[in-house]
Symmetry: C2
Subunit: 69 residues, 2 copies
Amino acid sequence: MKNRIKELRAKKDLTQDQLAEQLGVSRQTIISLERERYNPSIILAFKLAHIFNCKIEDIFIYEEEKDEK
Amino acid sequence: MKNRIKELRAKKDLTQDQLAEQLGVSRQTIISLERERYNPSIILAFKLAHIFNCKIEDIFIYEEEKDEK
DNA sequence: GCTAAATGTAAAGCTTACTTTACTCTATTC
DNA sequence: GAATAGAGTAAAGTAAGCTTTACATTTAGC
């Protein structure tokens, strides 16, 4: 699953540290998400959508084919 | 986090078993989600939205206040 | 009231999301 | 050029999502 976190974070001029704090997660989590090492929980996805003022679907791009978990 | 899975599943006239199979998860997972014992992964949320032909936000209701994980 | 289908519970085990710590690398800036 | 900020890696540990199995309860039709 792809995401636009890095791009959207840059647009809001936030450091990874600042975004992490706003979300209540560690900086490692932000790094891992931006690097697409794993997918966020749905709760984190909702929080991100709230901060970036958009829909979850605007941040995360899910491709049908690949049966990810 | 609240969800409308049971309601939407009923609307499509699917059993828990059938929905589970369509999603590629176990029946236990469906039961646990409907009973709101835990939240789905974002992948599962996307799959549910696809099956129910709606947005993730139409299925799952996230309340700000409660700092869930 | 039996039967069978659908729903539910419980518990043990695996996988993945997330944390914590410690250390590296690159750019500024003073 | 030393110091600081921002981004990155690695690895070990905890927490939460999901599976599997086995058994209980509810509901509907006969």
